[in-house]
């Protein structure tokens, strides 16, 4: 059965507006790059402003700190890398992993898991490592 075609009119759209199609759909990298640029420019601008108001060195420093704190862009909001020591979890089972296999680099929980690792193919071992985010480039 042919589904009823719902093609209602769209009067709410402005027919005179032409989309500037070649300006659309920038990819993520360029957008983030633009953001970074804008942030830098903004920082510069504020610093100039403060400088032009001719304050003491100390006060300038304080102002700078304030300035840096105020600017919040998409990138500055991002969480920093972790500084806590990493806990080792077994790549295969997910339990705690005190040991690491020197041949493949996989972490494992106990010797029965090690038996399993010994029989893994190199591509399977690489998949396990990739799940952890470790991508050995030359192997």
């Amino acid at each position: 059965m042919v589904p009823p075609l719902i093609r209602p009119p769209r009067p709410f759209k402005n027919p005179n507006y032409t989309k500037n199609t070649n300006r659309r759909t920038k990819n993520l990298k360029t957008v983030l790059g633009q953001e970074r640029e804008k942030e830098r420019i903004e920082r510069e601008r504020r610093r100039q402003e403060r400088d032009s108001q001719a304050m003491d060195i100390d006060e300038v420093k304080k102002e700078l700190v304030e300035v840096n704190e105020e600017i919040s862009t998409y990138l500055s909001i991002e969480a920093p890398p972790s500084v806590l020591p990493q806990r080792h979890y077994c790549d295969i089972t997910g339990l705690e992993a005190p040991y690491t296999d020197p041949r493949t680099g996989l972490r494992y929980h106990d010797k029965s898991v090690y038996e399993l690792i010994k029989n893994l193919s190199p591509s399977a071992a690489k998949d396990y490592l990739a799940a952890r985010g470790v991508n050995p480039v030359v192997r």
Partner: protein, 727 residues
């Protein structure tokens, strides 16, 4: 797997087709400037007028699909994508993670919203309140503003942050007063998780932080884990099914290391697992009935018999022919006339060169006939006649040349005959010995069973140890640095070295003496690491014989003690982690067991490093944010910790957050209970709707004139919106 009463087995839900509902009537809202609220989420688009109680919600995906049946191109949005199976792969969302990038899709999404709401006026004549991401990139905001103002001609547009509005909805001030609640908002979104401190009703966005880990990444991680664990799964696991599993079976652990330590025990792991049963197909085996089988067997037997008969017949024919030939030739020979020439002529006609050839053919035929006769079932001649060798004893001198040749021939034949007789006797002796041995063993077994069993078991153990040693040696040889490998290299080097031949031998002019001593050849065994030597096979054979004897007679020695089962035994832990079903169990092989994954996936929120994302986890971020405030402010913030967003519905989250925050705060500071939004997915929209009905709403929007003047990136600074590029 089934406990009494509760079944652990869950079935993957079958997708259901969506239903078509007619769009709303617009009449209520025509020419009234009721604010239009759009919660532009990464997974769902929620929209509606601010006076409605709840929004319409639809997945935020658009697909342009060319249908094969009627060759039409369709524009499908949201749930409708499920109706066409090929459309899913073409689905595009306006969001890429957290950033609004695809504006065509955004335009279609807004079109859909307007169509559903039944808007048929020229342009949208309502002030619009839309969400954007925390500190959204200006590019996204610019294009959205452009879209809204130019394409849809809205009178005014306001942006807000969804989690702050959800917070507002749950901490609404008494009507009339301004919003000045304090709190710490943790917002769980599709592609990120953010923490926003709110003081005096205003979001301190400069101190907010965002972790790039959300539902999308969690689902992918769960899918990856399942694919690694079940690498040979019969069906493909889709991300839709993975997200279903995530929502239903995964939870936060209050103390992750403790949970792991308890799961270490296989019994606990089995108790904690959830079994997901995927659909499977039972292959139809054509079972032949009994009579068919017997019929086939009979047919085969008959064929065999026929062949045998044919063979016998042909043999008889050949034999008859040979006999006739023999008769003919012998008669020919007897009827040999004295006339030599005639005889020669006759012979040539027959095809023989001379007399001797004729004689030979006759002799051959005679032998054949005799042998054929012997082979016939009637007339077995077992008696081995000792052929006579008369000429052996006659000294050489008495015989002529022919005689000597004959004698040599007879000597050879006698030697062969003797050898054969000797071999036969030895075989018999061996058989007798073996029988005697078996009888002895039976006697021993009968008399002293335990000793016999113990002895056999010890033998089995020694052989198994030898096999293990061999395996270990082989493994050691493959590792370049092991002692065995280095010894092997030394052997090779010493063989190749020239100084092996000592000076004395060289002086004596002797050649390389390798091989004179039998032991030298052992070096090949030592060097060739890869060969499966015949010793191994022998050991395996011996082992098998011993084991079969033990299995037969010893009741306590079961199949589990055999070498084969011991080597293929999987530890209890691994079989609890990933139970192995038998070969033919189709239902079992289409099952997924989730045990550690249930907590592992949610734990990544608190340490994204587990999944390879180099970012601080939620606990660390909370700590660093709180550290930037003064003690007084901190106290105000933690009194009201608020979680919102779809993923905040994971069980165990509140306890976990409480457990994370409590240790990092001074003990006397009061940490309130973690409050979850009343309706985590829709509260943002509801907060926006209730805000839009207040007077303050009209002051914070960007009107069309302001848009023309400032450009699309500027917004007004207010407590619920972003402050980048804000006036």
């Amino acid at each position: 797997m089934d406990e009494a009463g509760t079944s652990n087995i869950f079935y993957v839900p079958t997708p259901s087709l969506p239903s078509i509902t007619p769009p709303d009537s617009y009449d209520r809202f025509r020419s009234q400037s009721v604010p239009l609220i759009i919660d532009n989420g990464s997974s769902n688009l929620r929209f509606g007028f601010s006076t409605s109680a709840s929004p319409q919600s639809s997945p935020n995906v658009i697909a342009k699909y060319k249908e094969r049946k009627f060759n039409q191109s369709l524009l499908l949005f949201g749930d409708a994508i499920d109706t066409e199976s090929g459309a899913k792969s073409q689905g595009k969302t306006p969001w890429e993670g957290d950033v609004l990038l695809n504006f065509d899709a955004m335009e279609h999404a807004l079109d859909y919203a307007c169509v559903r709401l039944g808007i048929d006026a020229e342009g949208i004549d309502h002030p619009v309140l839309m969400t954007e991401r925390l500190c959204s990139p200006l590019h996204s905001r610019a294009l959205t503003s452009e879209l809204m103002f130019e394409q849809y001609s809205v009178p005014s547009l306001t942006y807000c942050v969804d989690s702050v509005m959800s917070f507002y909805h749950n901490n609404k001030p008494i009507s009339g007063s301004t919003f000045n609640a304090d709190g710490l908002v943790v917002s769980f979104n599709t592609a990120s998780t953010s923490v926003i401190p709110i003081l005096n009703g205003k979001g301190v966005l400069s101190h907010a932080k965002r972790i790039p880990w959300g539902t999308q990444q969690s689902t992918e991680y769960l899918l990856k884990l399942i694919q690694l664990k079940y690498s040979s799964f019969p069906t493909r696991v889709t991300s839709v099914q993975a997200s279903w599993m995530l929502h239903n079976f995964c939870s936060f652990a209050t103390d992750y290391p403790a949970v792991l330590r308890s799961l270490k025990i296989p019994a606990n792991m089995r108790a904690a697992e959830r079994i997901i049963q995927f659909p499977f197909a039972i292959p139809v085996i054509e079972e032949k009935t009994e009579e068919e089988l017997t019929r086939i067997a009979e047919k085969r037997k008959e064929q065999g018999k026929k062949l045998q008969e044919l063979a016998a017949k042909s043999r008889m024919e050949k034999l008859a022919k040979k006999e006739t030939d023999l008769q003919y030739l012998t008669s020919l020979k007897e009827g040999k006339s004295e006339n030599k020439r005639e005889w020669m002529h006759v012979l040539q006609v027959e095809g023989f060169d001379d007399d001797a050839a004729l004689d030979e053919t006759i002799r051959k035929l005679e032998v054949d006939v005799k042998r054929a006769r012997k082979k016939d079932p009637d007339g077995q001649d077992d008696v081995v006649e000792e052929p006579s060798f008369p000429l052996i004893d006659v000294p050489d001198a008495d015989l002529d040349e022919e005689g000597i040749k004959e004698k040599k021939k007879q000597k050879l034949m006698k030697a062969g005959f003797d050898a054969r007789a000797r071999a036969r006797r030895e075989k018999e002796k061996e058989r007798e010995e073996k029988e005697a041995e078996e009888r002895r063993e039976e006697g021993e077994r009968g008399n002293n069973f335990d000793d016999w069993a113990a002895r056999l078991r010890r033998e089995q153990e020694t052989i198994m140890n030898k096999i293990k040693e061999r395996g270990r040696r082989k493994a050691a040889l493959s590792d370049r640095k092991s002692a065995a490998a280095q010894a092997r290299m030394k052997n090779i080097a010493s063989l190749a070295a020239d100084e092996r031949v000592s000076k004395k031998k060289r002086k004596a002019g002797a050649e390389d003496m390798f091989g004179a001593d039998d032991e030298d050849w052992q070096i090949y065994r030592k060097l060739n690491a890869a060969a499966v030597s015949s010793d191994e096979e022998e050991e395996f054979n011996q082992l098998r014989i011993i084991e079969s004897k033990l299995l037969m007679y010893d009741p306590t020695f079961t199949a589990q003690h055999t070498h084969a089962s011991i080597t293929s035994q999987r530890s209890a832990l691994i079989s609890a982690f990933r139970p192995q079903y038998e070969e033919g169990d189709i239902e079992g092989s289409a099952r997924i067991h989730l045990n550690t994954e249930r907590w592992r996936v949610c734990e990544t929120y608190f340490s994204p490093g587990m999944a390879g994302v180099d970012s601080a986890g939620l606990g660390e971020v909370l700590q660093s944010i709180l550290a930037r405030f003064t003690e007084a402010e901190k106290a105000r913030l933690v009194k009201n910790v608020f979680i919102t967003g779809g993923p905040s519905q994971f069980p165990g989250l509140q306890e976990r957050l409480y457990g994370t925050l409590r240790p990092i705060l001074p003990p006397e500071m009061h940490l309130g209970d973690i409050v979850r939004a009343a309706d985590p997915s829709l509260d943002a929209w509801k907060g926006m709707a209730s805000f839009a009905n207040t007077d303050e709403f009209h002051q914070v929007g960007v009107t069309a004139e302001e848009y023309q003047e400032w450009g699309p990136e500027r917004i007004k600074r207010w407590w619920g919106g972003n402050c980048n590029s804000a006036v």
